[in-house]
Amino acid sequence: MASSSLTSINAVLKRLEKKYGGNVSVIVGYPWKPRTSKGDRGPETYSIYVHEDLTKNHEIGQAKFLEQPARQLRREIGQAVVTVTQKTGSLKSGLIAGGELLKTASQALVPVDTGALHDSAFVAVE
């Protein structure tokens, strides 16, 4: 799975966990599983390859479509988590909001050929 667990906002999370309780985490990513047969061609079979292959020139989008916004937007994501958590009183809601922010930013960068990879992005609560 090509994913980012928002580890860069650990300090913010620790503070929020203390105040709002709960041991919850959110994963933002694109599904990944190895190809098992020749007919197996879903986006989950190539998401990590597209993400990591810096030798390819894409007409739309780029490699590192998840890692780059996760690094560039870590402050904004942290702020979204804090704001929504304080507003709703739920750390889970805050993390989902932060995850959705990263997912949207990532989808703006993901290479688009058929759109299947773009549409496979997910935010999941662990």
């Binding site: 990591e52 810096l54 030798t55 890692e67 870590r74």
Partner: protein
Amino acid sequence: MSGSLQHGPNDILRYLLIGLGGGLVVAPTTPPANPAPDWIINVGFEPTSPDNCITVFNTSPILDGRTHPDGETQQHDGIQIRVRSLTEPVGYAKCNAITTALDAILRSSVVIGSSQYLVQSVSHRGILYLGKEEGTSRRIHTINVVMSVRQVS
């Protein structure tokens, strides 16, 4: 740290890995040897041969804000090390040797021409196996690292 660098972070890492010696990676020669030896390390461009080769690419940095006394922007530079090999076990073994070497780096000096750099540390997030290269049966592994480096002179 970072400041401004005269060479790209991927180039600095390349020279650092070459300087570790022990056949870990091989410096390209001028003119290029034919056939090229295994494990030549390239910057930003992956040649079609030899089968076993390494390429380093710059990726997005992690910006850490500015230090209080001098206002200098601090950042960790992102680099991808791409290892192409004829077989998966050979590629994995090379990646393993590289990550072991990276783990041992601490305040290492790198000289490129008249420029000198101090690499504080290089941290990696493990080895990723990407499968077969498109159109061939060569295997691809990647290692994503962040490096803390400063130009000394």
